[in-house]
């Protein structure tokens, strides 16, 4: 049999020069803006506002990072800590809530289960914008404006539906017989879930956990609307706040951009495989 991909002339051109040119353009386009921000974050003040523009810093310095991190007006160390706390608590709580719900939806028969799954799917598409006004007045009424709780609870509105949806799939792929035999041996349903199913689904749970963390980390609208004092801002809200200050300090701002990007970029490289599987599962039928 012929090797299948050595075919005709257009095919060989497509596999050679076209492929490599395409990859080069794609990578340059995707990475260009980051490289610019990285370069700007390492420039001195004089170089940032010099003409003509330089693309590679002449005298690279970490001063912008130090200034952004320790600034009293826009304290990035504080923003970072806030983001870390809000995202971590959201992540842990989301996982507890979604594991329980995902397990139930995968294992038990309910009246209206399909409707419920549809609700979980639909809520994933609900825009944060739609919830801003009612949630803000709700947090006012409960006295939660400018607290971590308001941000964490609001984040549930997008983390919970997605993680439940993904976890149902993971739990369904684990055979029922495993926990049924544990239950015959005298374990409770809940105990069997914790000791048998959760460890088996650990990779899936970890992936959804990272998803919850990263999406909370990136969240902007809730963080901007539901906090008012500088020391309560997360990185996203803090960056926007910084950009709205006096004259924009592009050096510090670029340093802030890099500081906010690195954690999610690192986490996402681990998550990639699972996330893609979760995203495409619905569309690909199994």
């Amino acid at each position: 049999m012929r090797t299948q991909r050595s075919g005709d002339l257009p095919e060989r051109i497509l596999g050679g020069p076209v492929l490599w040119t395409g990859l080069a353009i794609m990578t340059l386009f995707a990475m260009g803006p980051f490289l610019w921000a990285l370069s700007a974050s390492l420039k001195t003040r004089a170089e940032l506002y010099a003409t003509p523009i330089t693309y590679i810093p002449v005298h690279p310095t970490f001063l912008n990072y130090v200034e952004a991190w320790t600034s009293r007006l826009t304290p990035f160390s504080r923003f970072f800590a806030n983001s870390l706390w809000v995202s971590s608590v959201t992540m842990v709580a989301t996982i507890v809530i979604s594991t329980s719900a995902g397990y139930a939806l995968a294992r038990f028969r309910f009246v209206g289960k399909n409707t419920l799954m549809l609700v979980f799917l639909a809520t994933q598409m609900f825009p944060a914008v739609l919830l801003i006004a009612p949630l803000l007045s709700q947090w006012y009424a409960l006295g939660l404006v400018d607290t971590y709780q308001a941000l964490i609870y609001s984040n549930f509105s997008f983390t919970v539906p997605f993680t439940v949806w993904m976890l149902v799939g993971y739990f369904e792929s684990i055979p029922r017989e495993l926990e049924e035999s544990a239950m015959i041996d005298g374990s409770t349903r809940f105990g069997a879930m914790l000791r048998i199913i959760v460890p088996l689904a650990a990779p899936g749970i970890a992936a959804t956990a990272i998803f919850a963390f990263v999406s909370s980390w990136s969240e902007l609208l809730f963080a901007t609307t539901f906090t008012s004092s500088t020391e309560m801002r997360t990185l996203s809200a803090g960056l926007l706040y910084m950009a709205g200050q006096y004259e924009v300090q592009w050096g510090q701002l670029s340093a802030g951009v890099i500081i906010s990007t690195i954690p999610v970029a690192v986490l996402f490289t681990f998550l990639q495989k699972h996330l893609i599987r979760g995203l495409t599962a619905g569309a690909l039928k199994g």
């Binding site: 299948q4 075919g7 005709d8 257009p10 497509l14 990859l23 794609m26 990578t27 995707a30 803006p33 980051f34 940032l48 506002y49 003509p52 693309y55 809530i97 719900a101 309910f110 399909n114 419920l116 799954m117 639909a122 598409m125 825009p127 914008v129 739609l130 919830l131 801003i132 006004a133 009612p134 949630l135 803000l136 007045s137 709700q138 609870y153 919970v160 539906p161 439940v164 015959i184 980390w217 990136s218 902007l220 609307t225 809200a237 960056l239 926007l240 950009a243 951009v257 906010s260 990007t261 999610v264 970029a265 996402f268 893609i276 995203l279 599962a281 619905g282 569309a283 690909l284 039928k285």
Partner: protein, 311 residues
């Protein structure tokens, strides 16, 4: 006695009460998620409907009163609202259209076999995973008239003489935010389509090759038809998402200059956040919700129900 353990060996006479009890205990697993979504999604939606019936401007608490459909009437006569609908259409069509075409191209590239494919795939993903505020600020910087590289490059290659303040000119501002949004959204399509491409069995291509189909014929008659389901799902999800996506505009232009980039979702945000007009913001939210539900219903009908979504 451990009542959960005995569920697998039920005594016939106890069946009903056990069954009821089991059902109740089963529902407790769902309770935390139900409370969360009830408190942060469902209740706020009802609250928004309720709020939309009141005149409620936070800065004028003395004017708070029930006005029935007053906000909806105001909306019908608000030229800005109709402008934002038109802008939303432009925003969605151009963003999603280009994201799809370019994402398809990237997926075809990444589907080829070459060394370092995972590495390229990760690089390609980056624009999609970073926080929206980062995308907005970096692009704002790129567009900056005096210190931004876009004007600099265009001048160096001789396409521009005088720098353009892309985001402050009503003519260019929408194109500017759309371009940034395209950059951000390409990876979504490339991931989805790549997954679709990899799910097409090699035998199908082999059979087509044996039958003498050229590479272009294989693309039009094998690849595209087999990708149809995933293209429909990806595009529909993306249209809804883009329609509602306000972060980028909020960061880059806040709807300006002179509402040139104001889409309906950013207008909602502006009403709540800047005007503090909660009644009107809630009204806009309800309208957004209705548009979204209608679109989703059409889409579900088009793809023939839940099965094709939950797969």
């Amino acid at each position: 006695m451990n009542r959960e353990a005995s569920v697998t060996v039920p005594a016939p006479r106890m069946l009903l009460s056990r069954g009821t009890r089991e059902t109740l205990s089963n529902y407790t697993y769902l309770l935390p998620a139900a409370i969360c979504l009830g408190g942060t999604v469902l209740f706020p939606i009802f609250k928004a409907i309720h709020m939309s019936l009141y005149q409620n401007v936070l800065s004028r608490p003395q004017d708070y009163r029930f006005i029935g459909l007053g906000n909806y009437l105001r909306l019908l006569h608000d030229p800005t609202f109709w402008l934002t609908l038109k802008n939303s259409l432009v925003w969605v069509v151009f963003s999603v259209g280009f994201q799809f075409v370019l994402g398809f191209g990237v997926a075809l590239l990444l589907n080829a076999e070459f060394k370092g494919r995972t590495f390229y795939r990760t690089l390609n993903l980056l624009p999609w995973i970073i926080p929206g505020v980062v995308v907005g600020l970096v692009w704002e910087y790129l567009y900056q008239p005096n210190y931004g590289p876009i004007n600099d490059i265009l001048r160096r290659v001789g396409l521009l003489r005088v720098p353009i303040a892309w985001l402050s000119e009503p003519v260019y501002a929408m194109a500017g935010v759309i371009f940034a949004n395209i950059w951000r959204g390409i990876p979504f399509f490339s991931i989805m389509i790549l997954a679709g491409l990899q799910a097409i069995p090699d035998e199908v291509y082999e059979a087509a090759t044996v039958d003498g189909a050229s590479i272009t014929q294989r693309f039009w008659h094998v690849t595209l038809p087999m990708l149809r389901p995933i293209i429909v799902v990806a595009t529909a999800t993306r249209i809804i998402w883009t329609f509602n996506y306000a972060d980028l505009i909020f960061v880059m232009t806040n709807g300006g200059p002179a509402n040139a980039t104001q889409i309906t979702s950013s207008y909602t945000l502006l009403s709540a956040y800047t005007d503090l007009d909660f009644g009107y913001a809630a009204t806009l939210s309800v309208v957004l919700l209705v548009i979204m539900l209608v679109f989703t219903a059409c889409y579900l009908k088009f793809t023939k129900g839940v099965e094709s979504v939950s797969g």
